[in-house]
């Protein structure tokens, strides 16, 4: 079977607030354009709504009870089992594998190396400007710099004159150029940092969401019958300078309504900013003549509660925090090959161009999971999917606790 390149894009804390998932507020034309030529799984779910456990689960295709990673503090190869990862699977089969930005959760969860050299052919790239992400770099109304949650910035005034996802996109495009004419296929994973908090984003994206047009979540109160154990108090949000000034009571809040509107405004703006980076990335595939030979996967590690249930975080089992976008572009299958040299993914500048209207031609409504990504990507790229795991698989280095969703690409969904 012919092998295809893989461009694997993962956003951080991105819920299904995308035009192609029916969100009427957000402006995400580049992802919507990608989705229009892809198969879109409308009901895909993470296995645990926090970064390291979810990413480790997805990238090993093992559930958290098999990775035994429920926090950020252990490396699965020494803690539970020497499980083969998705990029490792490709690397072992002749692919050149590369990591840009946040793919594995950094730190001990990936052995301080992003699992290099097991997973990657070359050390992972991290954008240098990320070191300022939680620093006092947000100009407040007092003219001073703060470590705010809401942090729309003039990029030119930021340290280094850039932002992490801008740097990651530049690096990813550079890597695509370096691999365009090579004989061996590539697996390039690009992990964007947004729309994770803090919302340190270029200020121009705020103009897409006038505050007077923002609305509260449809259910902004903590549900009366929610057991206390199911509630999480969103401590990371509370720690930001601008939120601390609000003197919000612990643990149930609430956040003042005017600030709720602003959080929602900034989250949506962060999504549009990240969407623009996705647009830059996939349009580079076009420019390099790679769209006919590259599978593109777009997903997120988990969702985020935008005020639903009085919650401003992930850290729960709610739909809004576990449901994620999952989009597969497979050339020749989800879209026709481009033989005429026309652009498949022209960049859409959301700040100047009209919206892109997604057509629901190739959506799947069945429930799927992020543990399904590993076998499905492998199959769609031309490799065999790993075999299903036994009920207990701590000793098995290579197997999947998910399903190969390849059959969904060729059969009409019924029921």
């Amino acid at each position: 079977r012919e092998t295809r390149n893989v461009l694997f894009i993962i956003a951080d804390d991105l819920r299904t607030s995308l035009g192609c998932y029916g969100d009427s507020v957000v402006k995400s034309p580049n992802i919507d354009q990608l989705a229009s030529k892809s198969q879109v799984f409308l009901n895909a779910y993470a296995q645990q709504a926090v970064c390291a456990p979810s990413r480790t689960s997805m990238l090993t295709s093992r559930r958290p009870d098999t990775t035994r990673l429920y926090d950020f503090n252990s490396y699965w190869r020494v803690h539970s089992g020497n499980y083969t990862t998705l990029p490792q699977y490709f690397k072992d089969r002749g692919y050149f594998t590369m990591s840009v930005g946040k793919v594995f959760h950094p730190g001990i969860a990936s052995n301080y190396t992003d699992d290099y050299p097991y997973s990657w052919s070359t050390p992972a790239y991290h954008p240098p400007s990320f070191r300022y992400e939680k620093k006092k770099v947000c100009k407040g109304e007092d003219g001073k710099l703060h470590a705010n949650l809401l942090c729309a910035v003039d990029v030119a005034e930021q340290p280094g004159g850039t932002l992490p996802d801008l740097e990651s996109t530049d690096k990813a495009v550079q890597l695509l150029k370096s691999r365009a004419n090579k004989d061996d296929p590539f697996f390039l994973a690009v992990g964007f940092h947004k729309p994770h908090i803090p919302f340190r984003i270029p200020q121009e994206y705020l103009s897409l969401y006038p505050i007077e047009q923002m609305t509260l979540a449809p259910d902004p109160d903590v549900p009366k019958r929610l057991p206390p154990v199911a509630y999480n108090p969103w401590v990371d949000v509370r720690k930001r300078d601008d939120v601390q000034k609000l003197n919000i009571s612990f643990p149930y809040g609430p956040v003042p309504e005017d600030f709720q509107l602003r959080i929602r405004q900034y989250y949506y703006a962060a999504v549009s900013y990240m969407d623009a980076q996705v647009g830059r990335l996939v349009s580079a595939l076009d420019d390099l003549g790679l769209t006919n030979t590259t599978v593109v996967v777009f997903t997120s590690d988990h969702g985020w509660s935008l005020g639903e249930h009085g919650d401003w975080a992930k850290y729960s089992n709610f739909d809004v925090t576990t449901r994620v976008p999952l989009i597969f572009y497979v050339p020749g299958l989800t879209a026709q090959y481009d033989w005429l040299g026309e652009s498949t993914f022209p960049f859409i500048d959301v700040l100047t161009q009209s919206e892109y209207h997604f057509k629901y031609d190739t959506v799947r409504r069945q429930l799927v999971e992020l543990v399904d990504v590993f076998p499905t990507v492998s199959h769609m790229a031309g490799l065999r999917a790993p075999k299903p795991c036994a009920d207990v698989s701590f000793q098995e280095e290579l197997c999947t606790e998910g399903h190969n969703l390849a059959y969904t690409f060729q059969h009409v969904e019924t029921g």
């Binding site: 057991p227 509630y231 999480n232 429930l367 999971e369």
Partner: protein, 97 residues
């Protein structure tokens, strides 16, 4: 392919009530694990006792439950767990993983 598709998720907690570390407890502090199964029609969650040293869940140690009937309550705001007899689901929870 004829089986009903479901998805599973889980989340750990250090205590039955919200604490400063409830969002992201360290492994050693995990006392409860909330296991969820989601289908097209419902989301069912049991919060069960959990031993972080043995990684064992105690299926007879039910701390709380959630049941959302998604056709009536798509935003998961009306937990009807206590309105139902859960003996069948508790028996299912005792099955091996």
């Amino acid at each position: 392919k004829n089986e009903e598709a479901v998805s599973f998720s889980q989340y750990p907690r250090p205590a039955d009530t919200p604490q400063m570390n409830s969002d992201l407890p360290d492994l050693k502090d995990i006392k409860v694990m909330g296991y969820s199964v989601r289908s097209w029609d419902y989301r069912y969650t049991l919060w069960l006792g959990f031993n972080p040293k043995t990684f064992q869940v105690n299926v007879s140690d039910v701390h709380a439950g959630e049941l959302y009937v998604l056709a009536d309550d798509p935003t998961e705001d009306n937990n009807v767990y206590s309105d139902f007899d859960h003996s069948v689901m508790k028996n299912m929870a005792s099955l091996p993983p």
